[in-house]
């Protein structure tokens, strides 16, 4: 749809679409507008984006797969592979999922609680759910960008050999899409639930446990040695993202069955999306 006239559209109208078409056109345009706004802000802050995406995984692989082997403190990997290989899917998964929190959750929490900026975006001519879905889409794109930035890093930095083999590209695409969807939906949920003054606390009590107990640094099957923990971590969505990624990138490392990781990812995505959308609506419309 283009702006075909030289003048302005009639008051409130989306150009070219009279009547009820306007609603759908409006929703689509609002979505595109909101997304382009978010991408413009990301582009302006690209240095910041790189810094915050790269530092944590870079330090991790640098210390554990570069420094440790050099000083003789090697951590063994699983099933005859190096620890560096075990880390690849985990760190890529974590980069994707947690960028949803930084890209959507943190700003949204502030926009709802402190600055009330969200109140203006809620007046865009589209259903409130479209404003929420746009945030999920942006979180997903941001997650994908983070995964792509982190992936070469975890391949190149380690001194120990890293082996990655994608046997099934379709699986990788599905896992990536679901991981990014979870990133956006998790960001939406946390952004609508957590008050801005509790963000620090959220990192301590949500993000850190999700990471350390998310099968990022070890395959889930190895946890059989600590059976209660192996069962408990099944509540953590990050586990399935890491296991799915492990399945797609390093299929020779023990990993959860495809149906289990994909199925759980779909469930967690639907759950987080449902909670996030409901909370978003409840905070906009009283």
């Amino acid at each position: 749809m283009t702006d075909t006239t030289t003048g302005d559209p009639p008051a409130g109208a989306v150009p070219g679409h009279p009547g009820t078409d306007r609603v759908h056109a409006g929703a689509r345009w609002a979505f595109v507008g909101l997304l382009s706004r978010d991408i413009a802000v990301l582009w302006r802050n690209k240095g910041e984006f790189l810094g915050r995406t790269v530092i944590q995984p870079l330090l991790f692989v640098f210390v554990f797969t570069y420094v440790f082997p050099k000083i003789g403190q090697t951590i063994p990997g699983a099933a005859g592979t190096s620890f560096a290989t075990v880390l690849v899917p985990g760190l890529v998964a974590v980069a994707a999922v947690f960028s949803g929190i930084t890209a959507v959750g943190l700003p949204l929490s502030v926009e709802f609680g402190a600055t009330r900026e969200i109140e203006d975006r809620a007046m865009a001519p589209c259903p409130v759910s479209v404003v929420a879905l746009e945030k999920v889409a942006y979180g997903a794109l941001h997650g994908l960008a983070s995964a792509l930035v982190v992936f070469p890093l975890v391949l190149v930095v380690p001194v120990t050999p890293v082996t990655v083999h994608v046997a099934n590209w379709a699986l990788l695409v599905v896992v990536l899409v679901l991981a990014c969807g979870i990133a956006g939906a998790l960001g939406l949920t946390l952004g609508t639930v957590v008050k801005p003054e509790k963000i620090g606390l959220m990192f301590a009590i949500v993000v850190l446990p999700l990471t350390f107990l998310g099968c990022v640094y070890y395959p889930w099957q190895q946890l059989a040695a600590v059976r209660w923990l192996q069962v408990l971590v099944l509540l953590n969505p990050v586990v399935y993202v890491c296991e799915g990624m492990r399945n797609a990138l390093t299929p020779f490392v023990p990993h959860m069955a495809t149906w289990a990781s994909l199925g759980a990812m779909v469930l967690f995505f639907a759950l987080l999306l449902g909670i996030g959308m409901a909370r978003f609506y409840a905070r906009i419309v009283t």
Binding site: T2, A11, V23, W29, G33, E119, D120, P125, P127, T286
Partner: protein
């Protein structure tokens, strides 16, 4: 006459405990092109009424239509016809001044080219060109509010909602904003304004609804509301002790009514000619500290109706 905003039997109860009946049966019709004021103290239900009209608050009972569209049934269509300035600064702090306008146009379906043009037009018109590439956080209160109004009218809405638009602004910025509203009015934009500044309602509005406790107490053009008091002069007396004075004042020729005021009494009179010396003479034995003679204002109307001042 066509109505730009129609509110029928509007009730909003915020569930408690304790449940709050913020709007308690409001009926209003705002005509096309009219500047309409909701005047009342904080907590009178003004913002909730605007919230319902702007799709942000779900009515417990009743209907609100903007540009003929039921806002509860078709919020998306209704939103396309309205611009909203809330009482908080909701500017996008991650964007520049120009981008705030540009992206707003994009949300409303304008093309990139048209959005750029419109942003430039608005920057010029609202005298914000110098600040175009600056971030909104650096704007003064008055400029931020001008930008909010510019953004709210960027998509040329038929109805503009201004919720306490000048709260917290310095007098100069307030007058500058009034000029902006006058200009929009001249262009035919319907404006619904909430305020607890009676001068604002008096200066800007074609009609005013005085509201309190979620109800419309009286509605009409400001001049008419003031006339309804039946008084042309208000004499406010600051007294140490008003006891026994009321009947004496009421007996004076030309006195319409005598009401208690914060620090004494308020005498409403049909005309001031020769009356003030008599009132002063009568009040002197009661510890008269000060006397003020004014014309009736909308505040006087509010006080007469509620016995309270607007900014209690």
């Amino acid at each position: 006459m066509s109505a730009a905003i129609e509110i029928e039997g509007l009730v909003k109860v915020y569930p408690g405990p304790p449940a709050v009946r913020a709007v308690d049966g409001v009926d209003l019709q705002v005509h096309e092109g009219e500047t309409f004021g909701l005047l009342g103290p904080n907590g009178a239900g003004k913002t909730t009424t605007v919230g319902v009209c702007t799709t942000r608050v779900r009515a417990t009972e009743g209907v609100a239509r903007v540009a003929g569209i039921d806002v509860a049934a078709e919020p998306t269509r209704a939103k396309a016809h309205m611009g909203v300035v809330t009482q908080f600064n909701t500017l996008d702090r991650s964007l520049t001044v120009r981008q705030n306008l540009y992206y707003h146009c994009r949300y409303f379906g304008m093309s990139r080219r048209r959005s750029h043009q419109r942003a430039e037009e608005l920057l010029e018109r609202f005298r914000l060109e110098d600040r175009a590439i600056g971030m909104t956080i650096a704007l003064s209160g008055g400029m931020a509010q001008r930008l909010q109004v510019a953004r709210a009218v960027a998509h040329r809405p038929r109805v503009l909602f201004l919720d306490e638009p000048t709260a917290g602004l310095d007098p100069q910025s307030r007058i500058a904003l009034w000029e902006v509203v006058e200009e929009l009015k001249a262009e035919g934009v319907t404006v619904l304004l909430t305020t607890h500044y009676m001068e604002e309602a008096d200066n800007l509005c074609d009609r005013v609804a005085v509201v309190d406790h979620g109800k419309v107490l009286v509605l009409g053009p400001p001049a008419e509301l003031k006339r309804s008091l039946g008084a042309e002069t208000v004499i406010t007396l600051h007294l140490a002790d008003a006891s026994g004075l009321v009947p004496r004042l009421e007996a004076l020729p030309g006195v319409v009514r005598v009401e208690p005021a914060t620090e004494g009494l308020r005498v409403l009179a049909s005309s001031a000619g020769g009356l003030v010396p008599q009132v002063v003479e009568a009040a002197l034995p009661h510890g008269l500290a000060d006397v003020a003679v004014t014309e009736p204002t909308l505040e006087t109307v509010f006080i007469s109706l509620t016995g309270r001042e607007l900014r209690d």
